[in-house]
């Protein structure tokens, strides 16, 4: 567990620096590939909700520091994404060889909407068309492209255990 925490911490630290200095400069419409978000989802799918939430918090904190943004803002959103991705991983794709594209899609949309709400409360807004067409859709497409390689990286680093199938008792 400790080894996993150190590996996740180092991986997300590196990813946050890549995000700020490289990935944020890659722009399609107004969307950017979100390396950190996809990695947090990947880690959470493999290691569960608590680990996912802590990983999300750490990644968000590093991102906020590395980009001089409001401290705690990205942490809040990534903590929630990590937690819910972990929950989803528990009941669906934990240790699957394929990344849960559904988890990445839901995580991206959730993060985007959450970010819109938080920024709206802080006074920064985008028009709905600009948000959905300019930001959310390109980011979603780029994140889906990143899902396979980054989830593969997570599986390699965190040595995914054999799939734990949950017995679902038939409804009586």
């Amino acid at each position: 567990m400790t080894a996993d925490a150190v590996k996740a911490g180092a991986l997300l630290l590196f990813a946050a620096l890549v995000q700020v200095s490289i990935a944020s400069a890659i722009e399609v419409a107004e969307g950017h590939p979100d390396v950190v978000l996809v990695l947090v989802i990947g880690i959470a799918l493999l290691r569960g909700p608590v680990f996912g939430a802590v990983a999300g918090f750490w990644a968000g904190l590093v991102l906020d520091v590395a980009s001089l943004e409001t401290l705690g803002l990205t942490s809040l959103l990534l903590t929630l994404v990590g937690y819910f991705a972990g929950r989803l991983g528990d009941v669906t794709t934990k240790s699957s060889a394929h990344p849960s594209l559904v988890a990445v899609a839901l995580g991206t949309v959730g993060f985007g909407l959450g970010s819109a709400v938080v920024h709206f409360m802080l006074g920064s807004t985008l028009s709905a068309a600009q948000f959905f067409v300019g930001v959310l859709l390109p980011t979603l497409a780029l994140n889906m492209l990143l899902a396979y390689p980054l989830y593969g990286l997570c599986r390699r680093i965190f040595h995914a255990e054999p799939r734990e199938r949950r017995e679902v008792s038939p409804a009586v």
């Binding site: 490289i22 400069a25 950017h32 968000g60 803002l73 942490s75």
Partner: protein, 275 residues
């Protein structure tokens, strides 16, 4: 339980960060954190630079022929304008001498330029900001204007010892008092409603004369002890379209920025000679 604690802790961080001053504990800790991360960000940017340049070169080729034609026409028009302006400048100098005209600190004479590299961008579409690789150790302070050879970029809004955050003029929080060079119509340049790199020139009365293709420059006003953060004469953009409606108080003027904010690689921070 752990997730709930982390969410509450994040909310507490946001609250404290907003309530404390620029010199507060969290702001200071963040600056120290960025100082540690900055060498890695610079390294990352250097590694990515060749690939980014290659991508930019390839995508530029697509529109090169069309742009070439446009630029040839522009050069022709500018040649004529340079001749007219050289005459105007010499006449202006002569008249100033005759009037013993006293001017304030001007651009670029009153400033020292600090050239630096853009090393990062915040990963959010809401904040139009960039991180640069020079900070207070290079003499940069908060509210120093930032330009490129094309025109105005923005304002330094946060400084660490070896880095700084520049808020672009396309950010929602930015506003630049500006004038139209050809007619002298004054207004406020702000971000446009449609997309993140569009600008509008607001608060220009309907009776003012503004035409498509006019150049918008910073106004650089001064009122008592108060003065604009931007010196007079920095090019901001070209008027893209002008419209007005009966119900509006002001003209609707769209401005195309002269700086390509998507391909911002190097900038010049204008540090005033006299602080």
């Amino acid at each position: 339980m752990v997730a709930a604690v982390l969410v509450l802790f994040s909310l507490a961080l946001i609250t404290v960060y907003f309530r404390e001053s620029e010199g507060g504990t969290l702001h200071s800790a963040q600056r120290i954190g960025l100082s540690v991360a900055m060498p890695f960000e610079v390294a990352g940017e250097r590694i990515a630079r060749p690939f980014r340049d290659a991508w930019g070169w390839t995508s530029d080729l697509v529109g090169a022929k069309q742009e070439n034609e446009k630029l040839r026409k522009q050069i022709e028009a500018l040649r004529q304008r340079v001749i007219q302006e050289q005459t105007a400048v010499s006449e202006n100098d002569r008249l100033r001498e005759l009037l013993s005209f006293v001017d304030g600190p001007g651009f670029p004479a009153g400033f020292t330029g600090v050239s630096t590299r853009v090393v990062g961008r915040p990963p959010s579409a809401y904040n139009q900001e960039v991180l640069i690789a020079a900070g207070s150790s290079a003499g940069i302070s908060r509210n120093d204007p930032v330009v490129t050879q094309d025109g105005l970029v923005g304002l330094v809004t946060n400084v660490t010892s070896n880095g700084a955050k520049v808020t672009l003029i396309t950010d929602q929080s930015s506003a630049v008092s500006a004038i139209v060079l050809e007619s002298g119509a004054a207004g406020l340049v702000r971000h446009g409603p449609s997309n993140s790199s569009a600008l509008v020139l607001d608060r220009v009365g309907k009776d003012e004369l503004v035409e498509e293709g006019n150049l918008v420059i910073t106004a650089g006003w001064r009122s008592g002890k108060l003065e604009s953060l931007y010196p007079r004469g920095i090019p901001v953009g070209m008027v893209k379209s002008v419209g007005q409606q009966d119900v509006d108080l002001y003209k609707r003027i769209q401005v195309a920025p002269l700086v390509n904010f998507d391909a911002l690689a190097e900038v010049i921070v204008l540090v005033p000679k006299k602080r």
